[in-house]
């Protein structure tokens, strides 16, 4: 599977992308960025721990290249309206956007993004020491490629439109002290995780088993997805038929609800911040979500459990399957400063910067970063590598209609289920019918 995907990726990107040697030294060695000096670029930038760290490097980029950077910073789920509005104009204000994985297909289909392969093929622009093979494969494929099978998977037809940055997969974090106290082994399977959740709820007063995202809308869908593909479930199949009421999806929903019921108090309304804080503040014994927990879990100003957190790979249910998500950097087609924007993307995602951001608690983009001694000291690198092996590029269907399905169908029906307001099977049948309506309206079933 991995070999096939890599092969397809190489075929897609062409030789231009495969020719960048290691390592990168700060600056624009071998490239001709001098003409970009004095230009000013505007970047739509999320408020997010990884990007909070990364933005500290921007003055160095300006010093190295003479390109000034202005950040338009906002909450990450709010970025899409601003980006769509700007990218719909003949000439937009944004020269670089940070996009969430869910938006990539829609952006490309609406002709918003610049294909990156031709830019990498331009010797005057491409950094000579930029090694794309060093970018974590699952991230490059999952975040960067559009146009392949199902429109978003790696394979024939896929082209590169973005570079992963702040990308993530899922991991299970658990409280070693609590597990030891109750003679629980680190969970390898969902049965282990469920048993641990029940034990903690029963025997640890005031503590929940697994903390999860569950606030109505995007968050509850994200929480449910954590269990869907491990149980071999799907949102839609290859014929774009809804599968959310299939037995596998129903089982995943039952498990999700049980985790809510055995979870921390008020967990049925947690957004991501509350979800992670519940674990870091000692109110939950387990966390199964983004690896972005690695940084905060070590930070005493954010965590009460710095010394007692263990990590294992996202447990197996019917199969191993982990999240693949996060952010990427792309250049809007209507940017007037494409070259400067491309310089910025390369500089920020180059090996040297990646190590520095990761060493401060950011999320790595490159394999070489995981090998760096400074990173190895603070990151559970071995577990991370295992998590990357099971990161699933088909974690959710990244089609144009996904936001509507996620927020207005699953985001409501799942919320009704976990608050005990609605029975699982009829509600998921209803969700399937609603998804079918959306897909029909979008023209997926035309003969």
């Amino acid at each position: 599977m991995t070999i096939t995907r890599r092969t397809a990726l190489k075929a897609t990107l062409g030789s231009a992308l495969t020719a960048f040697p290691l390592p990168y030294a700060a600056g624009a060695a071998g490239t001709d960025w001098s003409k970009l000096k004095g230009q000013s670029i505007v970047i739509n930038w999320p408020s997010h721990p990884h990007f909070d760290i990364a933005k500290k490097l921007i003055p160095e980029f300006t010093a190295a290249t003479g390109i000034k950077v202005e950040l338009d910073e906002m909450q990450y789920l709010r970025m899409k309206d601003a980006q769509v509005l700007q990218m719909s104009k003949p000439q937009g204000d944004y020269d670089v956007i940070v996009y969430v994985i869910m938006w990539k297909t829609e952006y490309v289909q609406r002709n918003f993004l610049t294909e990156l392969a031709p830019l990498f093929a331009n010797d005057a622009l491409a950094m000579k020491d930029y090694n794309k093979d060093d970018i974590i494969t699952a991230y490059l494929e999952g975040l960067g490629l559009v146009g392949g099978p199902r429109g978003y998977l790696p394979g024939p037809g896929a082209k590169l439109y973005g570079i992963p940055y702040g990308a993530e997969c899922s991991v299970l974090a658990y409280r070693k002290d609590i597990f030891a106290k109750h003679n629980l082994a680190p969970p390898k399977t969902y049965d282990d995780m469920l048993a641990a959740a029940r034990t903690v709820k029963e025997k640890e007063p005031g503590m929940g088993g697994l903390t999860q995202r569950a606030q109505a809308g995007h968050q509850v869908t994200a929480g449910w997805l954590m269990h869907l593909t491990p149980y071999d479930g799907l949102v839609i199949d290859n014929k774009f038929e809804p599968r959310v009421s299939d037995p596998a999806a129903i089982k995943a929903t039952e498990v999700y609800k049980e985790f809510i019921d055995t979870g921390p108090a008020g967990g049925a309304a947690f957004d991501f911040g509350q979800c992670i804080n519940s674990f870091l503040q000692g109110q939950s014994a387990m966390y199964c979500d983004s690896i972005s927990i690695f940084g905060p879990a070590r930070d005493p100003s954010k965590s009460k459990v710095t010394e007692t957190v263990g990590y294992v790979v996202h447990p197996k249910a019917a199969k191993y399957s982990g999240e693949l998500g996060g952010f990427g950097l792309a250049i809007p087609k209507n940017s007037a400063k494409r070259d400067a924007a491309f310089a910025f993307i390369q500089w920020m995602t180059a090996a040297q910067q990646d190590v520095r951001v990761t060493a401060q608690g950011g999320q790595p983009t490159r394999w070489s970063t995981l090998d760096h001694p400074d990173v190895k000291k603070i990151y559970p690198v071995d577990t991370y590598r295992e998590c990357l092996k099971i990161a699933n590029p088909d974690w959710r269907p990244i089609i144009n209609e996904w936001t509507e399905i996620s927020e207005k169908v699953l985001g409501i029906r799942l919320s009704e289920i976990i608050t005990g307001k609605a029975p699982i099977k009829p509600t998921m049948d209803r969700a399937a019918a609603e998804i079918k309506t959306i897909m029909t309206r979008a023209g997926y079933y035309k003969t």
Binding site: K80, D81, V84, L85, M87, S88, R110, A214, Q215, A216, G217, Q219, V220, P264, A265, G266, G267, A268, A269, Q274, S278, Q281, Q283, T403, E404, E407, K408, G411, I412, R413, S415, E416, I418, T419, K421, A422
Partner: protein, 296 residues
């Protein structure tokens, strides 16, 4: 100097009023007309309105048959009824209690109106923290009794929480208007009632409230319109959940426009909300129009 009675004199008021009328037309009417126009087209955020996107009333038909739209409207009407009723009772009650000039009353009144001055999105964030199940002060106080409600995770409690928040913020608005109305009441009416042997409660019931009625009607109208348009507080506190239990109609419209990016659908829902708001306002004014009562 004798004023001219010619055409110039007759036109003068219109000329003076013209700039304001033009601004009103472009600033207020134009967006409403555009919303009506957009509601007939299936367009997404950032797309041009083209003849091919015309769907006519089909968008309205789809919107009105959507169960989530119906549920959202029901939640909005319940929310509006509850908060307007409670705010009126509390606001008028407080005004009646605090109308007398007592020592320190200016400070107290100033403190009382502070919530109204806070941006609604901040109010939402403040009360989200207040109702937080683990770190919120409310649960901290309730822990004395051994209870720890999950305020924002239970449909009924979440609805209660957004009502409390709105009541906290807008009762002062009712209070200010009621207080202004009470202070504008001719004292001779109250004196006359006292001389006739009316008790304080009878003075309130038969003198103050009837004289206050026109102001209260306008207050109800303004609060009702505001409650029907409520967005920021629920957006920050619950995002409409759990399920649709706190999804006010404006939040539903916002999600249609900026989450699913269906601008035509969103415009159609906005038109529906405008119709509902206008109809309820008209009903209220038909029932008791303060301007008509004054014979104007």
């Amino acid at each position: 100097m004798k004023p001219s009675m010619g055409l110039d004199r007759r036109l003068t008021p219109y000329i003076f009023a013209a700039p304001a009328v033009v601004i009103m037309l472009f600033g207020l009417l134009y967006p409403v007309v555009e919303a009506f126009r957009l509601s007939f087209y299936e367009v997404r955020l950032g797309e041009q309105v083209t003849p091919q996107a015309f769907r006519g009333f089909a968008i309205f038909a789809e919107a009105l048959s959507d169960s989530s739209v119906q549920q959202s409207m029901a939640v909005t009407l319940q929310f509006s009824a509850v908060v307007v009723l409670v705010e009126m009772v509390l606001g008028v009650g407080l005004a009646l209690m605090l109308e007398k000039p007592l020592r320190g009353m200016i400070v107290f009144r100033t403190l009382l109106v502070l919530p109204m001055m806070i941006a609604p999105i901040c109010v939402g964030l403040i009360w989200r923290y207040m109702f937080d199940v683990n770190v919120g002060p409310i649960n901290s106080w309730l822990s004395v009794f051994g209870v720890k409600p999950a305020w924002l995770a239970e449909p009924g409690l979440a609805f209660f929480a957004i009502c409390v928040t709105d009541i906290w913020q807008f009762t002062p608005f009712v209070f200010i208007l009621a207080l202004a109305g009470l202070q504008g009441i001719d004292q001779s009416s109250i004196e006359a009632a006292k001389m006739d042997g009316a008790t304080p409660l009878q003075i309130i019931r038969y003198v103050k409230l009837p004289l206050l009625a026109p102001i209260l009607m306008i207050t109800i109208l303004m609060r009702l319109i505001d409650a029907l348009r409520g967005l920021e507080v629920v957006y920050a506190m619950t995002n409409g959940g759990p399920g649709l239990s706190t999804e006010l109609f404006s939040l539903h419209i916002y999600k249609s426009a900026f989450v699913t990016q269906r601008m035509g659908h969103s415009a159609a829902l906005s038109v529906c909300l405008l119709i509902v708001t206008t109809a309820l306002s008209a009903l209220l004014l038909m029932w008791s129009n303060p301007l008509r009562q004054k014979g104007r």
